[in-house]
């Protein structure tokens, strides 16, 4: 064991947890004021629900043993045998530190989906969805990519910090839920505006800060690989934010605050799978691609009439695909031990594309089936009157902003 590595991983786990409140504010500012608490709550409840599912069986299914390359076993249910030493995993940190770090990823991934279903999903349906999803979708994918399953071990696709497991997974699941739910009342007809962009900008800053733990922590040590991931993360986020507002200024005439915040998040998403495998200049290209392409992708929901309320698909699915695929071009052996197409290994690009397709098909199908079962049993949506009067009052009997005390 290494105390420096352990200190960094414990710190990183706390940084990643900090992203979930950040995400809550990022999303909370973008909904109408009558739905702000319901939005915050849908993020925070992931901390509660996924803690329970992950401690009971989720972690074990993802990281304990391997059954045919597709799922782990239940030997570590209840996190039993997860102790003070590094006896189970080949890392230089205690098994409990590794479990804690992975734990935080399992929490924020379903929380990302909340933006797509904002302002209309029932709280009970959401809580049950993320509980089931974290076991049936997240845990298997984490196993396939990181836990010794077939994507990492056989296909040899690479994903440093969760382009496949976190962002493409959450993005395509968001699309499945959007289709099952249908659009909000007034989508494309009424003015549905963000109620407090300062909250959104604050949340984006918290996400950016926490993302250093997300990406650099994924080196699982206080190492050069961590420092490289730290550096590429900053570069991609800053470049993507800049490119996004340039695209806005060119197409709409004005750069926007929401655009800068969104661009930063898109860049952070795109560099996530690549951060430990590519160099600084490649991070510039990946960031630029994320800034321009995610901005372009915003228009798709209007074309298809999918009310992806806070653009989870455009930012996380599209951004994740950009990162996972460009990684197949820009990966360098001297950085992360794997070469991409531009460094003499064209097969890596094909592996990356295959891993993206597998992730999308698996996550979409299972997420959609879970959503349809919930729709047919307890129902997914609040009533029309509850939706119009706002979810804060109708679901939680609270108000986010009261006029006077």
């Amino acid at each position: 064991m290494d105390t420096g590595d352990t200190a960094w991983i414990l710190t990183s786990a706390a940084l990643v947890l900090f992203m979930t409140p950040g995400l809550a504010l990022f999303y909370g500012g973008m909904v109408r004021s009558k739905n702000v608490l319901a939005m915050l709550m849908k993020n925070y409840v992931a901390i509660g629900v996924v803690t329970i599912t992950w401690v009971t069986v989720g972690f074990s299914l993802a990281f304990s043993g391997d059954v045919g390359g597709v799922i782990g076993d239940l030997n570590l249910w209840g996190l039993r045998d997860i102790g003070l030493e590094n006896t189970l995993f080949e890392h230089t940190v205690p098994d409990s530190a590794f479990a804690m770090f992975q734990f935080m990823f399992a929490i924020i991934t379903p929380a990302l989906i909340a933006g797509a279903v904002a302002e209309r999903i029932k709280f009970s349906a959401w809580a049950i969805f993320i509980a089931v999803w974290s076991i049936l979708v997240y845990a298997p994918l984490a196993h396939w990519v990181w836990g010794g399953g077939f994507i990492g071990a056989d296909l040899q696709a690479i994903d440093f910090a969760g382009g496949l497991v976190v962002h493409i997974n959450a993005g395509i699941a968001a699309l499945a839920l959007v289709i099952a739910l249908g659009p909000r009342i007034g989508f494309r007809r009424e003015v549905i505006r963000p109620h407090s962009l300062p909250l959104t900008v604050l949340g984006a800053g918290m996400l950016w800060f926490g993302w250093f733990g997300f990406n650099a922590g994924s080196a699982l040590g206080a190492s050069g690989a961590a420092a490289n991931a730290f550096l590429t993360t900053q570069i991609a986020a800053a470049v993507a934010a800049t490119c996004w507002v340039i695209a806005e200024a060119v197409t709409h005439g004005k750069p926007t605050t929401l655009g800068f915040a969104s661009g930063a998040v898109a860049g952070l998403v795109a560099i996530t799978p690549a951060s430990g495998f590519v160099g600084p200049l490649s991070a510039v290209v990946i960031g630029a691609a994320a800034g321009f392409l995610c901005f372009w992708a915003l228009r798709l929901k209007f074309r298809f009439n999918f009310d992806d309320s806070l653009d989870v698909v455009a930012v996380h699915l599209v951004g994740g695909i950009i990162g996972a695929v460009l990684l197949g071009l820009f990966a360098e052996e001297r950085i992360g031990g794997v070469n991409g197409l531009f460094f003499g290994a064209p097969e890596q690009l094909l592996r990356q594309i295959a891993s993206v397709v597998i992730t999308m098909v698996f996550s979409f199908v299972v997420s959609y089936v879970i959503a349809l079962i919930l729709k047919a049993t307890i129902g997914l949506r609040v009533s029309e009157q509850e939706e119009r009067s706002g979810l804060d009052l109708s679901l939680h009997e609270e108000q986010g902003w009261v006029l006077a005390d």
């Binding site: 003015v191 505006r193 963000p194 806005e248 197409t251 709409h252 004005k254 926007t256 929401l258 655009g259 969104s262 901005f295 915003l298 228009r299 209007f302 653009d311």
Partner: protein, 112 residues
């Protein structure tokens, strides 16, 4: 007694308050409101989607004055709030039946 209600541009509030103090007005209420009149709304853009927003932010001020003071207060607001552009606002003058100072129970002009 009169209640003078004026809908003004928000950036004119401080100037109008100072000008009204000069006229002898002893109190004033103000609040943020949104409304529309002849002034067109504006466009807001969020993540590339453009929305036409009809409501324009304005400030509503309310002043209770004695009849003798009313003409001067009205002309002061009118002159101070005017920029000559569309959206300068409106002033309404309402008759007031009675005024009560809650603390003392004084009524009418004594309560102003």
């Amino acid at each position: 007694m009169k209640l003078i209600v004026a809908y003004i541009n928000p950036f004119k509030l401080d100037e109008i308050r100072d000008a009204l103090k000069e006229t002898g007005v002893t109190g004033l209420s103000a609040g943020n409101v949104q409304g529309f009149g002849r002034q067109a709304g504006h466009t807001e853009t969020y993540r590339g989607a453009e929305y036409e927003v009809d409501f324009v932010p304005k400030v509503r001020i309310e002043v209770l004055v004695d009849d003798t003071l009313a003409p001067n207060v009205i002309s002061t607001i009118e002159q101070t709030a005017r920029t000559g552009s569309i959206g300068d606002g409106k002033i309404a003058v309402l008759p007031v039946e009675d005024v009560i100072r809650i603390r003392t129970g004084e009524r009418g002009r004594d309560a102003l």
